[in-house]
Symmetry: C2
Subunit: 321 residues, 2 copies
C-alpha cells in the first residue's frame, strides 16, 4: 500500500467493520510497520475521526462516533441494502425526508457499480408496493433518481408526459426541483417549448432521459418550489375528507392509523378519526384493523364503500359455510 491516501481510506474501512482491531494486525493488513500505523491513527484523529484505543491484554483500536460523518466505506451488500432502503423511504412518503432520501439515493446510485445497480433493480422488482392496494399510482425509483440527477447537475431533460385527458406528449424542460407533496412527487421545471414554469406529476411521466445539454439554473419567480407546487396543485385537492367516530380509545386507533390521519379523543372511550384520502379502500383498511364499532360522519361515499365490502365479506363467509 504505497500512498498514504489509499492506506488511510483502507484503514478507515477496516475500522468501520469495527470489532476491536489489535494494532499488529492492522499494521500487517495495511502492509506497514506498527509505528506507521500509529501515525496513521494519529492522522485520522487529526482529521476529526475519533479513534479510541484501549491498552492491555484485550486492547485495540476502534472508530467511535464523532462530530461529523466520516466517509462510509461499504461493501457490495451494504450498498445494495442502502439503495433499497432509500428507494422505499423516497417512494412511501414516510416521514418528511423523501426529498433528502432521493438526493442521497441519487448520490449512491451515481457511484454504484452497474452490477450492484442491477441487483438493486432485481430486488426491487419483486417487492411489495409498500402498502396493499389503495396506494394509487406509484413512482419508479429509477425515474426519480434520473430526474433528481438532472436537477442537480443542470442537465436538460426529455420525457413523455400523460395529460389529464390521457394523451401522451413529449416534453423538453430544464428541470429545477423535485417536490414531494403528500404521497405524490412533482417536478418543477422550465418548459423549453412553452417558455414557462410548469409542474409535472412524476407518476405521469415516462422515460425521462437527459439530453446531454447543460444549462444554468434560472430563478424561479415564485421563490420556494414547494410553495409553487402547492399553489399549482391547490386547485385539485384530495377527493375525500373522511371523518369517523370510533368506539375505541384514541390511543388504540392511533396505533393503527399512524400518521395517515389524525385521531382525537371524544370522551367516553371513543375517538374521532380524520383522514384525507383519494381512495376509500384506505380508511376501510384502517377501520377493519381497529375492529371496533364506528359511525361514518362523512363522506357518504365511504358508507357505500363499506357496505359493498361488508356484503362482499358476508357473501364469502356465508356462501361456503
Amino acid at each position: 500500500m504505497a500512498n498514504p491516501s489509499a492506506r488511510m481510506l483502507r484503514l478507515l474501512s477496516l475500522l468501520q467493520t469495527h470489532r476491536y482491531w489489535p494494532g499488529p494486525e492492522l499494521a500487517e493488513r495495511l502492509g506497514v510497520s506498527e509505528r506507521t500505523l500509529r501515525r496513521d491513527i494519529d492522522r485520522l484523529r487529526e482529521l476529526g475521526y475519533p479513534v479510541s484505543a484501549s491498552r492491555g491484554v484485550a486492547g485495540g483500536y476502534q472508530l467511535r462516533s464523532g462530530a461529523a460523518m466520516p466517509p462510509l466505506l461499504l461493501d457490495d451488500d451494504e450498498a445494495v441494502a442502502i439503495a433499497i432502503g432509500l428507494r422505499t423511504a423516497a417512494t412511501t412518503a414516510l416521514a418528511g425526508i423523501e426529498e433528502t432520501a432521493v438526493q442521497a439515493l441519487t448520490k449512491v446510485i451515481q457511484v454504484m457499480p452497474p452490477r450492484l445497480r442491477r441487483r438493486v433493480d432485481a430486488l426491487q422488482s419483486h417487492t411489495v408496493p409498500a402498502l396493499p392496494g389503495a396506494a394509487g399510482p406509484t413512482v419508479e425509483a429509477g425515474v426519480l433518481t434520473t430526474i433528481a440527477q438532472a436537477c442537480r447537475d443542470g442537465e436538460r431533460l426529455r420525457f413523455g408526459y400523460t395529460r389529464r385527458d390521457g394523451a401522451v406528449a413529449s416534453r423538453l424542460v430544464e428541470p429545477h426541483r423535485l417536490v414531494s407533496l403528500g404521497r405524490r412527487w412533482y417536478l418543477v421545471a422550465w418548459d423549453l417549448e412553452r417558455h414557462d414554469w410548469r409542474t409535472f406529476r412524476v407518476d405521469r411521466l415516462t422515460g425521462p432521459a437527459t439530453t446531454g445539454a447543460r444549462f444554468r439554473h434560472r430563478e424561479l419567480p415564485a421563490g420556494d418550489p414547494a410553495a409553487f407546487v402547492r399553489s399549482q396543485v391547490a386547485a385539485v385537492p384530495t377527493r375525500y375528507q373522511v371523518e369517523v367516530r370510533v368506539a375505541a380509545p384514541a390511543a388504540t386507533v392511533e396505533r393503527v392509523v399512524g400518521q395517515w390521519g389524525t385521531v382525537e379523543p371524544d370522551g367516553d372511550g371513543s375517538s374521532v378519526l380524520r383522514m384525507s384520502v383519494d381512495y376509500l379502500e384506505w380508511p376501510a383498511l384502517v377501520l377493519g384493523s381497529v375492529g371496533a364499532d364506528f359511525q361514518v360522519v362523512q363522506p357518504p361515499e365511504l358508507r357505500d364503500h363499506l357496505r359493498a365490502v361488508g356484503e362482499l365479506f358476508l357473501r364469502a363467509s356465508d356462501g361456503a359455510a
Copy 2:
C-alpha cells in the same frame, strides 16, 4: 489543505455532489494549484475511481460509476435519510435483505454523530409502523442495532426476556448472530447461565446492553444459524394456513398481495391465494383491497373473522344512513 489524504477525501466528496466541476474551481476549493489538482485526479483514477473529464468550453470533472463502491461522503441530512431508510428496510422484512440492512445500519449508526442519531430517533418516533394493524409485535431498530453490534464485535450482552408465560427474566449471553425469519427477528446466542445455545425472539427482548466484556466466538454446533433458528422455531409454526379462491385474475391479486402470499391462476379468470399468517386481519385487508368476490377454502376461523368485519361494516354503514 495540507495532507494529500484529507484533500483526496474532500475532492471525492466534492465530486460526489456531482454537477460538472470545472478544474479551476476545484483547485481553488482545495487550495492547491491546478497542476496539483490534475495530479489528485490522476491519483483517484489510479485508486480505481473513474473520474471522467470533458474538455472544451463547458468541460469539467465528474465522478462516474466504476468497479467498486467509493467511500460515500454524506452530509448530515443524507446520513439521516439513509439511517431511516435502513431502519424501515430492516424492520419491515421487505425483500430478503433485512440482515444486510441491519449490518449496514449498525455501521452507519456506529459512526454517526450523536446529534444525528437523535434526529433519526425523533423522526422514527412519529412515523408509521409500516403497515396498519395486523403487523404483530414490532422490533425497535435501536434494539436491533445494539444486538447486531454486540454480535459483530463479540461483546457480551445482558437483556430482559419475556417468556411465553409472561414472566420476565434477565439473561446474560454471548450473542452470535441475528436471523430474520419471515416477519420476525431472532437472536442466536450462547446462554452463559444455562451453558447452551438458545434462540431469542428479539421482539420479546428488552433493554439490551453490552456488559463491556468481550469474548471469542464459539462455533455453533448446528452450523448455519438460520437453519438452527428454523429448527428451533419449526415447533411453533404460523398459526393459519390461508387458502382463498378469488374471482379475479392472478395478476390483479398479485399486485395487491405482493410477496406476502402466493397466487396461482385457477382458470376462468379466477385465482387461488395462499398465505401463511398469524393474524387474520392481514388476509382480510388483502381481500378487501382486491374487492372481488371470493370463497374461503380454509381456515374456518377466517370465515368467522370476515363475518365479524362484514357485520361491523354493515352496522356502520346502515346505522348512520
